[in-house]
């Protein structure tokens, strides 16, 4: 406890950097010692990364992936939040629809790929549909349980102050459930980013997922494969980081246990 406050500043960066450095070294020497001809070393991945950055196609791929996520995820938000709030608000309706939701929910979006291609053909719309589907369920579940978890005391207060049912939903139940809904939105964004890569490997010919599979198929460029994987990881991290900032907005911060 005494030394924690003092060393915190540099330790916060030192240990993670050390761990990353050790893993990179492990990777480098593993490639060296096994004398693999297929798997790239960190140095060749770095060169591959530089090559990708110089080719304009990388930015187009990033843009395409982000655009698909934006549309698919956006649609899931627009459909999922009102639907989830409605199901949470009318438990009787939820009882009717819940079995269907619970059966559909554990199906991997990958399993939907053939169906998506039948519905939408090869192309953007199939990929967007898969992202929509994968993001929808976490949002739905978070909204339903978020509404169910709103303390009865809040609803009673709202009724006491003479609010109409619609006002209770928008002015009390929604803000009270918002922290939990945000958690669902964040999980859904993570899943959407996972799924866009998978969808792009099959349904389209652009985007980061396509970059991965194309680098392998056209000349077994595993340096580019791993470089693209790293870019996917970094963008995913950036998306999550941005989302976490939302949890600090003052009207929802009460629902999250931050340091204090």
């Amino acid at each position: 406890m005494t030394s924690l406050a003092k060393t915190r500043g540099w330790e916060k960066f030192f240990w993670p950097l050390l761990a990353t450095g050790l893993l990179l070294a492990l990777w480098y020497y593993s490639v060296l010692w096994t004398a693999t001809k297929v798997f790239p070393s960190p140095l060749s991945v770095q060169k591959g990364l530089a090559e990708l950055l110089h080719k304009h196609v990388l930015w187009a791929d990033i843009g395409d992936s982000l655009r698909r996520v934006a549309i698919g995820y956006g649609a899931a938000v627009v459909v999922g939040i009102p639907l989830g709030l409605t199901l949470g608000w009318y438990p009787a309706l939820n009882q009717v629809l819940n079995p269907v939701i619970q059966i559909l929910r554990p199906i991997s979006p990958i399993a939907w790929i053939p169906v998506a291609i039948v519905f939408f053909g090869i192309g953007d719309r199939a990929a967007v549909f898969l992202i929509f589907l994968s993001a929808l369920f976490p949002i739905l579940v978070a909204c339903v349980s978020g509404v169910a978890n709103v303390p009865a005391i809040f609803r009673r207060s709202a009724r006491n102050f003479g609010l109409s049912p619609a006002q209770i939903l928008t002015k009390v139940v929604f803000p009270a459930a918002l922290p939990q809904i945000l958690v669902g939105l964040r999980i859904a964004l993570g899943v959407a980013w996972l799924v866009v890569v998978a969808a792009e490997m099959i349904a389209v010919d652009s985007g980061l997922g396509y970059l991965v599979i194309d680098s392998r198929n056209s000349g077994k460029r595993y340096d580019l494969v791993v470089a693209a994987m790293l870019i996917i990881g970094l963008i995913g991290l950036a998306l999550d980081f941005c989302f976490r900032r939302l949890e600090r907005i003052r009207s929802v911060r009460w629902g999250f246990r931050h340091e204090s």
Partner: protein, 261 residues
């Protein structure tokens, strides 16, 4: 009893009347009675404390008066009108977590005022911020307020909609003893300026003797009115005066507690 009430001078008009109120809940198909034959008249501006053993149905009675529950028998009328449901003219204040954590102090006080023009709304908010002494905390969220401040905020939010009656359900029950003492003083000060009818549920005998005009003692379940004790001491009450101690002991013995415990 009833004739006596009728003979009283009409100056303090009757606000709330409970006649033969009974309440039973269903549990596993069996109905069990919580309240039986509750009769009570409350005058306008009166401060009533409801005391009784825990679990006796004090909160149930408050919920009936607030319109959140309907009695299984008897009638509850306010200004001669039967209570039909919750109404902004009578606000229930909860023990804890009653304020909305996503709204600031201002937002909470203004919660019931969305129908008012902005200027009037702001003026009322400012008035009640002042009244509960939360100046400087207008933009603070409840998470950053102390327990006592949150309860003051809840009272301010209730008063802001200008109710005739405040129902307080053990409002200071979750506070530490010093804060509780301060809050009693604050509540009395507010009650003396605003003169709303107050029905205050507590299990704290001192609290009841210190605050109430009349203390209604409920028996254990199924609860009936055991006794009604008039506290004939003017405010501010000296809590070590002989009359105060006498009334406190009387109340203790009525609840069935020997203070030699």
């Amino acid at each position: 009893m009833a004739t006596e009430t009728l003979k009283r001078p009409p100056v303090p008009s009757r606000k709330l009347r409970l006649e033969h109120v009974g309440m039973a809940f269903d549990n596993d198909g069996k109905s069990f009675s919580v309240l039986e034959d509750i009769n009570l008249d409350v005058s306008d501006g009166e401060f009533i404390c409801l005391v009784g053993p825990s679990g006796c149905g004090k909160s149930t009675l408050l919920n009936l008066m607030g319109g959140f529950l309907a009695p299984t028998s008897g009638s509850i009328t306010i200004d001669g009108q039967p209570v039909q449901g919750p109404d902004p003219r009578r606000i229930l204040v909860f023990q804890e977590r009653g304020v909305f954590p996503w709204l600031t102090v201002e937002g909470n006080i203004g919660f019931g005022l969305s129908g008012l023009p902005r200027a009037e709304r702001n003026q009322r908010i400012a008035h009640y911020v002042q009244m509960v002494r939360l100046q400087g905390f207008e933009h603070t969220y409840p998470a950053d307020l102390s327990g006592g401040m949150k309860q003051r905020l809840q009272v301010a939010r209730a008063l802001a909609v200008n109710p005739d009656i405040l129902y307080l359900d053990e409002p200071f029950g979750a506070l530490d003893s010093v804060t509780r003492l301060i809050m009693r003083g604050e509540l009395l000060r507010i009650w003396e300026t605003e003169r709303r009818t107050i029905i205050f549920v507590t299990h704290d005998i001192d609290e009841a003797v210190q605050l109430a005009d009349r203390v209604v003692v409920l028996s254990s379940r199924p609860a009936k009115i055991e006794d009604i004790l008039t506290i004939d001491i003017a405010h501010p009450r000296n809590i070590s005066s002989p009359r105060y101690l006498e009334l406190r002991d009387e109340l203790m013995s009525k609840i069935g507690l020997a203070y030699t415990l």
